[in-house]
């Protein structure tokens, strides 16, 4: 199992995607469908994910550049390729990595007067987003010489990384003949968190008539901040102690937070249905082990003015340089704080309009209505899906057209075409196998680039193994 996971981790790290799971949304894969929409139809009586293999998901993406753009073995100097890439990217371009591993996932149908499907579990998540800090990259790569008069904007710096575990428990209920709804309560335990998302201010070198020296270097309206949680206590620890400490945090020993998922399915008729969900509506309260760095102020640098004082013997020279450093420190103080802070989770919204057609699948030869009392399944389903996620610079969207084909009870295949911030040619496919209650699924994105992932802007992969009792 260890090797098995390693292969996927290694594979995952070498590819690129975001948090959209368009292939799993509203598909056969019960536990994962419920995680994406707590109000989805459930037709099983019981499910249990194989621990640590119930779902592994990896997404990495960059909106404006592929690995190939920089690392192509084409004889062109890599520095020239980096220069091109920097000029091509804008500060709205971003890099993301999202990885989830289901540690536990289970659910059961409670058959009372009012049948309710309960589900719960725990998963680990790594989520990283970094916007391309265009101005800072230009300054670092080329310097200010060719850019006299240009303001380098600190607002370009925006990045966030979170490693956390999530404990969740949800209920799913068919409210009426047409409506199924569900909610899921989540408890977050943050292992490590770093963010710097609300920066402002600018640095400029300019030539101004009447200024004291050749240039005037100005920092205007600077207000930058880096927040960390879970780092300082790891600093002094040995490697083995770090793992122990992180494991403790994974088991609800970290900074805690609370969140909610909610979703619904509305069945218009036997063929047409609408689904919608909102996920991770919540926040983490970072109260322990926090360290925040803030710098704020304005400063204008002209160089050092010499005043040629008449010094009597033994009198020390004027400490111009120390005075300059003191001035800067006074005007732009850098504070280190240990105050707590609250961080909203990146909330996601899913929605879909689904149309079933074709002949009926012989699901026990009749109605599949244990929990939901839903229609008998048809062999084909097509539809549109919408996904969005709240990121530091606003919403990111994706739209998906999909087609699902069922081959008896054993096999289901879903294909998707997705239009998102990364690309307009993202075709994905998923394979779902049901072998005697054991369910396997495999889904991957950007298949057109599968022959050479280096050229892909994003790829996602989801694999999982579950036991489901229908």
């Amino acid at each position: 199992m260890k090797n098995f996971l390693f292969i996927y981790l290694a594979f995952g790290l070498s590819v690129v995607v975001c948090q959209n799971k368009q292939l799993l949304y509203n598909w056969e894969v019960t536990p994962q469908t419920l995680m994406l929409n707590p109000g989805s139809h459930v037709s099983s009586q019981f499910h249990a994910g194989i621990p640590l293999a119930s779902q592994f998901h990896f997404n990495a993406g960059s909106s404006g550049v592929s690995v190939f753009d920089v690392f192509a073995d084409d004889g062109v100097d890599i520095n020239a390729k980096i220069s091109n890439t920097i000029s091509k990217l804008s500060s709205r371009d971003f890099f993301t990595v999202n990885q989830q591993l289901d540690v536990l996932n289970f659910g059961w149908l409670s058959k009372g007067m009012e049948p309710v499907y309960f589900s719960g579990g725990m998963y680990q998540e790594l989520d990283v987003i970094a916007y391309f800090p265009k101005d800072i990259a230009v300054l670092a790569w080329e310097g200010n010489r060719e850019y006299i008069g240009k303001a380098y904007d600190f607002n370009d710096v925006s990045a966030r990384a979170d490693l956390l575990t999530v404990y969740h428990f949800g209920v799913n209920k068919q409210v009426s003949k047409k409506l199924t709804a569900g909610v899921r309560l989540k408890l977050y335990s943050s292992l490590i968190s770093v963010s710097s998302t609300r920066n402002k201010g600018a640095f400029k070198t300019s030539i101004r008539e009447g200024s004291a020296n050749v240039y005037e270097h100005t920092i205007t309206d600077l207000d930058v901040e880096v927040k960390t949680s879970g780092f300082i206590s790891l600093d002094a620890l040995e490697q083995s102690q770090v793992s122990k400490k992180l494991l403790g945090r994974a088991l609800l020993g970290g900074n805690l937070g609370i969140g909610l998922d909610a979703g619904m399915t509305y069945q218009f008729d036997n063929q047409l249905s609408l689904t919608a969900s909102v996920l991770d509506l919540g926040a983490i309260f970072h109260t322990n082990d926090t360290e925040l760095y803030k710098a704020k102020g304005d400063y204008t640098l002209d160089g050092i003015e010499l005043i040629f004082p008449e010094l009597v013997n033994g009198e020390p020279a004027i400490p111009y340089y120390d005075n300059l450093e003191d001035d800067i420190a006074r005007e732009i103080p850098v504070d280190t704080l240990n105050t707590g802070y609250t961080q909203l989770r990146p909330t996601k919204i899913n929605a879909g309009l689904h149309y079933d057609f074709g002949r009926f699948v012989g699901d026990k030869g009749g109605c599949n209505c244990k929990n939901s009392g839903t229609k008998q399944k048809r062999v084909s389903q097509a539809g549109v899906q919408y996904f969005s996620i709240f990121r530091p610079r606003g919403l990111q969207f994706a739209g998906t057209l999909y087609y699902t084909r069922r081959f008896g009870k054993t096999l289901s295949i879903k294909t998707t075409y997705t239009l998102d911030s990364y690309s307009a040619k993202n075709v994905g496919a998923g394979l779902f196998l049901n072998l005697g209650g054991v369910n396997l699924f495999l889904a991957a994105d950007n298949l057109l680039q599968m022959s050479n992932l280096a050229k892909a802007n994003s790829v996602s992969l989801q694999v999982g193994l579950n036991y489901i009792l229908n």
Partner: protein, 182 residues
């Protein structure tokens, strides 16, 4: 059953894994990445009044005035490793009716000279300021010496002076640093 399923699963996923690859890429190129920013930064400036060159109390000429400032950033080992060249640019605007010799002596902690720059400034007049430029470009070897210094001693020498002398000697200066970060 479980084993059989796992095998099928690995087979299926492996197909996906192995048909995909990173074609035509060379990640060793990372070793060749070099940042070469060129930084423009103000250096020193001053406004020396003609009166600085006469001691009114004792009625004597003051032919040499000097001042010194630390430039700690030059002497740091960080900058030493990455600085590959520099252009020093000095612009004098003189309204004093005298020429000047000006030297910039870069000293280390023990006041030992590591690099010396010298120039002359043309005489001007209060009505017609005269501008003199001095540019010194340092190559990798010269900058290596200069970065052993951490302060600069500025000496301004006037050939003769009098109590009637008027005007101002203004200096503005900047440096272009050529960095190479590997």
């Amino acid at each position: 059953m479980d084993v059989k399923i796992s095998k099928q699963f690995i087979l299926l996923t492996s197909i996906l894994l192995f048909v995909s690859c990173f074609d035509g890429t060379d990640f060793d190129q990372t070793n060749e990445v070099v940042l070469t920013p060129e930084i423009e930064l103000d250096l020193i400036y001053f406004n020396l009044e003609a009166s600085n060159f006469y001691d009114y109390a004792n009625n004597t000429e003051v032919l040499v005035v000097e001042d010194t400032t630390d430039l700690d950033f030059l002497g740091g080992s960080d900058i030493n490793d990455i600085i590959k060249g520099a252009d020093f640019y000095f612009e004098f605007t003189n309204t004093i009716a005298r020429g000047f010799n000006v030297s910039f002596d870069f000293l280390n902690n023990d006041n030992v000279s590591k690099y010396l720059m010298q120039t002359t400034v043309s005489p001007g007049s209060e009505n017609t300021p005269v501008v003199s430029y001095f540019v010194q470009s340092l190559d990798a070897l010269q900058i290596k010496e200069l970065t052993k210094a951490n302060k600069v001693l500025v000496t301004v020498t006037i050939p003769s002076s009098s109590q009637d002398l008027s005007g101002v000697l203004n200096l503005q200066s900047k440096t272009t640093y050529y960095l190479q970060i590997e």
